[in-house]
């Protein structure tokens, strides 16, 4: 019984080690890439459609005099806190697809990020 448990622990440990290794390599590969900016002003996201490659970090900066949020349409993929003037929020897109997002305070503000 004891022996079995130690085997499981060993396996878990190995898995963690492997995961950490992967994480380190991904990080090393993407460090040079600069974040792509989306400007929030006048109750709009600009550009309304942003196309990036997988692995790109997108940074939203609120230049409006009213707070806004950046929330994915499913409300779970990404979700910022309320961004006051000059606050920013970043999210790294790893999987290709079309990500529609909106401001949960002013839901008429809708835009998207296309990840290739």
């Amino acid at each position: 019984m004891l022996r079995k448990r130690s085997w499981i622990l060993l396996l878990c440990g190995a898995a963690l080690f492997a995961a950490a290794g992967r994480l380190a390599t991904t990080r090393a590969q993407t460090t040079p890439a600069k974040a792509v900016e989306v400007k929030i002003d006048n109750f709009t996201f600009a550009p309304p459609t942003l196309t990036v490659t997988a692995g790109t970090t997108v940074q939203w900066i609120n230049r409006d005099d009213i707070p806004h949020t950046v929330v994915s349409e499913d409300k779970s993929t990404f979700k910022s806190k309320a961004l006051d003037t000059d606050d920013s929020y970043s999210y790294r897109f790893t999987k290709p697809g079309t990500y529609t997002y909106f401001c949960s305070i002013h839901p008429k503000m809708v835009a998207k990020v296309v990840v290739q």
């Binding site: 006048n42 109750f43 005099d65 949020t69 949960s104 305070i105 839901p107 008429k108």
Partner: protein, 328 residues
């Protein structure tokens, strides 16, 4: 400017602008004109009268004083806002409280129709509560604005104002024969959507109203307008028609909203809609700017565009008298 507005309104009253339904549409349109110059809009027996605050006659004042119930509405205090449109929202909220305390008949209670805070921060709510303590009213009732629930589910708001409420803080109460319903239409909004009440709240509302007789005066208050003011800017509630259908059988319904930072009125059958001014900053007229962002006006004009609403209920009259006054 203010004087001119008054004269125009008086001239309109000399006109025979009354329709078969007894509503003076010319006067009504004047009232809708967004000005915030201290115009009073008073509905009595289905006939609308407009006055400047100073032009309120002794008779009218006496009628208002005789009313069974008087309450006031303030809205959109946006505590924490500090941008050029108004760098001192504390002072303007205090001015609103002074205005309330100066009313000839003290309102029994206060309704705050949301956007108490600017960023849902505890210290912002604290400041408003502290300032409202100096208001000479027995109670303050709140509904949240979208700025009070920026996390999406309103944890901070619910921890403060959720007591004795249902669901996501909707609630109802009775005051001297008038039934009040506080609705929440700012939670869990969908991408591209408008304000939303949701089926759970509508079901509750149906049950809440079921026991009332059709002659009970009903006051509904919520942050985002329950009529389509300007959906392009999100100034409307997607399922408000369902709420209004529940109110159709009542003889006197008053709907009080905030959100659009300007006063506006509309009458549909027995339902009178009214939006209150903000105590913090004005917003542009629907579609008259690129976006609904804060309107910057010269400092000396600011207080004329901010305000409070005083509501009087006189039994036997068809509608409640709704009176707006500016902070200037």
């Amino acid at each position: 400017m203010a004087r001119k507005a008054k004269d125009e309104i008086q001239i309109d009253h000399h006109h025979d602008g009354h329709h078969h339904d007894g509503i003076d549409r010319r006067g009504f349109l004047k009232c809708m004109a967004w000005a915030g110059t201290g115009t009073l809009c008073v509905m009595r027996g289905g006939v609308l009268k407009s006055f400047e605050l100073g032009g309120f006659s002794k008779q009218d004042a006496a009628a208002a004083a005789k009313g069974e119930l008087s309450f006031a509405q303030i809205s959109d205090s946006h505590m924490g806002f500090n941008k050029p449109a108004n760098t001192d929202v504390v002072s303007t909220l205090k001015a609103a409280v002074d205005k309330l305390n100066g009313l000839s008949s003290a309102p029994e209670f206060l309704l705050h129709t949301g956007d108490i805070s600017h960023l849902s921060r505890p210290e912002e709510f604290d400041t408003v509560e502290q300032i409202l303590k100096s208001a000479q009213v027995k109670e303050v009732f709140y509904v949240p604005g979208e700025h009070d629930v920026t996390d999406g589910d309103g944890k901070e708001y619910l921890s403060r104002y959720g007591k004795n409420t249902q669901g996501q803080a909707w609630h109802s109460f009775d005051k001297k024969g008038v039934h009040f319903v506080g609705l929440v239409n700012v939670m869990n909004l969908k991408a591209g959507g408008l304000g939303s009440l949701g089926t759970e709240q509508l079901d509750w509302m149906q049950k809440d109203l079921a026991a009332l007789s059709a002659s009970t005066p009903v006051v509904v208050f919520a942050h985002i307008p329950l009529w389509s003011v300007y959906p392009e800017w999100g100034w409307g509630t997607e399922d408000s028609a369902q709420a209004l259908a529940l109110l159709k059988r009542f003889g006197s319904v008053t709907v009080l909203n905030g959100h659009i930072h300007q006063t506006m009125q509309k009458v549909e059958g027995a339902i009178t809609f009214h939006t209150a001014a903000s105590t913090a900053f004005p917003q542009p007229q629907p579609g008259k700017a690129d976006s609904p962002g804060p309107m910057k006006v010269p400092a000396e004009q600011l207080r004329a565009l901010l305000g409070i609403t005083d509501v009087n209920f006189v039994r036997g009259q068809q509608a409640l008298a709704v009176v707006d006054s500016s902070l200037a």
